[in-house]
Each structure stands twice: as C-alpha cells, then as structure tokens.
Amino acid sequence: MMNEMKQIKHHLTEPLLISYAAGTLPEAFNLVVATHISMCDECRAALAEYETVGGEVMLDAEPADIAEDALAATLAMIDSGTISERPAPVRTRDSLFPGPLQDYVNGDVDSLKWRKVGGGVSQLVLETSKEATVRLLRIPAGTAVPDHGHRGTELTLVLQGAFTDAEDRFGTGDLEVANEDLHHTPVAEAGEDCICLAATDAPLRFSGLLPRIAQRFVGI
C-alpha cells in the first residue's frame, strides 16, 4: 500500500479539489475524487487545505438572518434524535476497490457483470445522478481503447495496471483529467488488465465509424 502510494504521479487538479471541497461536483466526479483520495495521501492533505479555505470563505460571508426560534427548534431536533449522518466508508475487505467505490459496486472484479464494448474492452456503468456518468473499464493488457475526443471533462482513475496515451503513462492511483483539447487513444500496458474508473460530464466522441455505432448501443 505504501509503495503503491508513492508511485502516484498524476493528482487531482486545483479546480477539482475546490469543487469537491465546496460540494459542487456531479456525483460521478465526486466518486472518482473520493476514490483517488482513498489511494493518495498527497491529495487527502490537499483536500483538507481546500476545506480550510472553504471554512474561511464561509466565515467571511455576510451573516444571514436566522429565525427567532431557530436555536429552540434545533435543540428540539437534537432531543428528538432524528438527525444522523452516515459515517465515512472504510475498506471492508481486501478489495481492489477503495471504500467509496465499494459502496457503488456490488462485488469484486471477477464477479461483476461486465458488458463488452468491443475490442476486448468491457465496462460496467455505475448508477449516479444524471449530470455526469461514471463507469468501470476493463482493458485487456496490451489493448487500445478506441480513439476518442471529449466535449466535456473526462476523469480516468487507474485502479489496476497502467495505460499510456500521447500525454503520459498512467499507473495505479494516477488520475488523468482530459478536456476538449485532448484526443487520445489510451493503450493498456502489457502485464495485467488495466482497470479504470472513468467519469465524464458529456458523451465521448469516437472517431471511427464502428465505435460510433457501438456507442449507440452501450451508451458511452
């Protein structure tokens, strides 16, 4: 685990950290961010910093008027015991999937209901709010994901193995942030299958005709 962490080279960007700290990201992106932070101490510390900024921004805001009976109502709420908050997730067993991802995935790599999307690549779309989508991708070692561009932002977090594209090499724990400018063909490294968690806030655009037809069926 310690060694795995030291290898992480590609981290969350400042806009992502601010947006996660502020609670303004789509659920699909939040899942990728929370999963990366579960693997990356560097970004865990960075998030704490951005949350501190959030606290200071809140303190600086012009205070709003509060209802006269607000304190009494809150104490009544406390007495009734109706308010609770779910504790943060923990990695319950030896799993490839960090805690936050386990909450979304029912099972482990080999027991999941993967669907083939062509070229040996399989995916599993996870259920989140509609503003963005997130899926697990399983790319056989040495295989390329069809060439695609993006209309919005795509986050790709490597959970196992590694892939390389025109930008760089992305190993376990690394996060690639792709936007409109990036047109890439990720290739999984030889060795073990590359398993990624990928979120996007707009449909990907595949260049070839065949993938585009496939896209209609699999809903990428």
Binding site: E27, L31, A70
Partner: protein, 232 residues
C-alpha cells in the same frame, strides 16, 4: 467519548454559567494546557504574526465543541449557534438554497454538530473548517439530493488528549489563512468565493487561483506523515 453522544442528556451541567462572559480563563481543564502553550509561545524566540484575539476566539470555539461533547453543554452550544448558524445559512443561500430551505438545512447542520461532537479533532481541523464540511455535506444531501461518495476514513479517530500546542498551532494557521484570503486583491477573492458558492463550474475555475495555502499546508501534511509513521 464512548457510547451514545445523546446519553448524557439529563445530567446537563452547564460548564459556563455566564455564556456572555465566556473567556479562556473560564475554560475547563483542556485549557490549562492551552495557557501553558501560550506561555511557551510567548517565551519562544520565534515570533510569527499571530492575531492573539482571533486565535483566542478560535480556541474558545474548540472549548465550546469540547463542552458540547463532554457535557452536552447547551450554553456552549448556544454560543456556537449564535456565531455559526447565520454564516452557515448565508453559505447555503449563496449556494442556491431558498431562505426557507437554508433555514431548515442550517438547523440540521447545527444538530449534526451536536451529534458529531465526539468526532471533532482540533489537531486536524479548526471548528470553522469542520462546520463548513458538515454544511457542505448537508447541502449535497438536501439541496442536491445526491449520494455523497466520501474518501475512506483513516484509522486516526480523535485523540482523547490532544496536544494543546498542536491545537493552538492549527487555530493560528487557520487564522493566518483567513487573513491572507482577506488580503487578496478584490477580484481574486471574489473569484475564489464564487468557486466555493458553486457559481463557477470546475472547468471554469482557472488552473491557478493563487490561493495562499502555504500557511496551513505544512501542518496538515505533518499530521498525515506522522500517522503514516505510526501505522508502519
């Protein structure tokens, strides 16, 4: 803190009988150490630019949360409520909540503060940061009605006897960050505020906001390093 945080209700012995005159000197034993730390700092050669008054206020919040945790102290809770509830509500309204919804949500945030007081660790976050994260979480739950994926918890629950020098150091650094933010050029500060209020999308936030994070970086990273060391 063991067991149900609500279990102490009924044996409510307010620690502060005069909330209006709450000062550090009135504080419970946790503050004996605070005073020691203050003395140590005054003796030390290092003289960081510390706003003593602001730090004292932040330390008082820590004492108040501790009093809520240990004694279900309603007077201390009222103090926290008076200061933070209007600011939490403001944050929620600026994030797009109607006044009514923001009011309801604010009360829930403050009730959550009471329930989660046993989780508060003043060596890892200041009270303002902690309340902000509770408000942020409630905003996602209630306003955005989304599931809220969170990072795995590290096995470093709050320490029963936090090192008061560390607690104090964190309050000072948080305050310095607050001052540094306030000192930013207007335009830049507004941009950061808009990002936190959700008026900018993540793709609209410039790659470099020039946030003055230097003051808090070291301490948070230090705490993590130490944790990793003890886990080895």
């Amino acid at each position: 803190m063991t067991g149900d945080p609500m279990s102490g209700r009924g044996r409510n012995k307010p620690m502060f009988t005069e909330p209006d005159t709450l000062t550090i000197a009135d504080a419970p034993p946790v503050f004996a150490a605070y005073n020691g730390a203050k003395a140590a700092r005054q003796r030390s050669v290092e003289t960081p630019k510390v706003n003593t008054e602001a730090t004292t206020k932040r330390m008082a919040w820590v004492v108040q949360v501790t009093a809520v945790r240990d004694n279900q102290d309603r007077a201390a809770f009222a103090e926290l409520f008076g200061y933070f509830a209007p600011r939490v509500k403001s944050f929620l309204m600026k994030s797009g909540a109607s006044p009514d919804l923001a009011e309801e949500c604010t009360q829930e945030v403050m009730a959550t503060l009471w329930n989660k007081a046993h989780m508060f660790d003043p060596t890892k976050a200041s009270v303002s940061t902690w309340i902000f994260t509770i408000a942020r979480n409630r905003k996602i739950d209630i306003l955005r009605k989304q599931r809220r994926p969170e990072p795995e918890d590290l096995p470093w629950g709050p320490e029963p006897e936090p090192d008061q020098v560390e607690v104090m150091g964190l309050q000072q650094e948080t305050d310095k960050l607050g001052q540094a933010l306030a000192a930013l050029p207007d335009e830049q500060r507004k941009l950061i505020e808009r990002a936190y209020f959700g008026e900018l999308s993540h793709s609209e936030i410039a790659a470099e906001t020039g946030l003055p994070l230097g003051t808090i970086k070291s301490r948070i990273r230090l705490a993590l390093d130490r944790l990793r060391h003890t886990m080895k």
